[in-house]
């Protein structure tokens, strides 16, 4: 492989890395969700926390993204929202990631 081809491959790899970083950032933006006037991230940590608390309590308290306490009075509704938003964001990232390999074809 000559140096020209190596540079081309390097540029392509860089472009893919930037695209991946942007797609991940896009997913992170989409993970942000407002529930009962408070802001949350529908990430794995929040989902696991809510699911764990829901197993033992009918109502409980969690912190929003600004560390303000929020009472969750309908855990099922909240968990459903978190899971729906999480999967929407991650599946979009997955679809985008499938296009990375096709770049440069």
């Amino acid at each position: 492989m000559d140096i020209g081809e190596l540079k081309k491959q390097s540029d392509l790899s860089y472009n893919i890395a930037v695209a991946k970083r942007n797609a991940l950032e896009k997913a992170h933006s989409r993970l942000i969700v407002v529930y009962r006037e408070h802001i949350f991230r529908a990430d794995a940590e929040t989902i696991c926390l809510v699911r764990t608390l829901k197993e033992t309590m009918e109502k409980f308290f969690v912190l929003d993204t600004n560390d303000n306490p929020v009472e969750i009075i309908d855990p099922t509704e909240f968990l459903d929202l978190l899971i729906a938003r999480n999967q929407e964001a991650i599946s979009s990232y997955h679809r985008m990631s499938k296009t990375f390999g096709k770049r440069g074809d």
Binding site: D11, N15, E37, S92
Partner: protein
């Protein structure tokens, strides 16, 4: 939104790209604060409210006129209980921002930006003694708390030279980002304040937009060409008006 043409940039043409995206994705009523000279250049944009003011002159950016100092009037000019203030070069390709109108926060602004080209970092912390906020997009709910923030912004603006020196801000021109950051810190007793957990996806000034559709944007930076779809983007290169 605030929109004033200058001798160098037809900002109204950027506004014409932004308004349809707000209508399509955010589905919010729009009020544009502008002057009559700019308004005359605008093509029909459907139902949009206009408020006419004469922009305060005198600020510059990179040697060119920059009519950005009227943002502190947003509280008084807004006809809404809850207002989303946006730069006209922030293109909402999603409905992500809409949900922030449903919070009970008095004032929300973001502290982070994400460079889509991966070239610069937008890590503004090293350029001043204060954490900068991105006044590109913010939400406020009318009431005493938001009123206090805007009153503080007016005060900071009035004595901006002093605050600029005190916080050792590298940029010497007036920037809303710093004016709001200073006001929020002062108004909140030098303690932390609530923020919008968004990292604003941004294309830096040296990045050329080569195509823009109603779903996304493609750009060129040096020999790098890339694109994003269904992601809100803040475009700093004003040549966008010519795309």
């Amino acid at each position: 939104m605030f929109c004033f043409n200058t001798a160098e940039v037809d900002y109204h043409r950027i506004l014409e790209r932004c308004v349809p995206l707000i209508k399509k994705n955010l589905k919010l009523e729009i009020t544009v604060v502008t002057n009559f000279e700019t308004y005359k250049q605008l093509k029909p944009l459907g139902f949009v409210n206009y408020k006419f003011i004469e922009p305060e002159l005198g600020n510059t950016k990179n040697g060119y006129e920059w009519r950005n100092v009227d943002r502190h009037m947003a509280y008084d000019l807004s006809p809404y209980d809850v207002t989303l203030v946006m730069d006209i070069d922030y293109f909402p390709f999603t409905d992500n921002l809409r949900q922030f109108l449903d919070t009970d926060y008095a004032f929300l602004v973001s502290k982070d930006a994400h460079d889509l080209t991966d070239v610069g970092s937008f890590d503004m912390r090293k350029w001043s003694m204060i954490d900068m906020v991105w006044a590109t997009v913010f939400v406020f709910r009318k009431g005493p708390e938001a009123r206090r923030v805007f009153d503080m912004v007016k005060y900071v603006k009035q004595y901006y030279h002093h605050f600029n020196e005190m916080y050792r801000i590298r940029a010497k021109n007036y920037r809303n980002d710093y004016a709001f950051a200073i006001a929020l810190q002062q108004a909140n007793g030098f303690a932390t304040y609530d923020t919008m957990p968004l990292s604003i996806a941004t294309l830096p000034p040296g990045c050329k937009v080569i195509e823009m559709t109603d779903t996304g944007i493609a750009w060129q930076y040096s020999d790098q060409i890339n694109y994003t779809e269904h992601q809100d983007v803040h475009v700093l290169n004003k040549e966008l008006a010519d795309v």
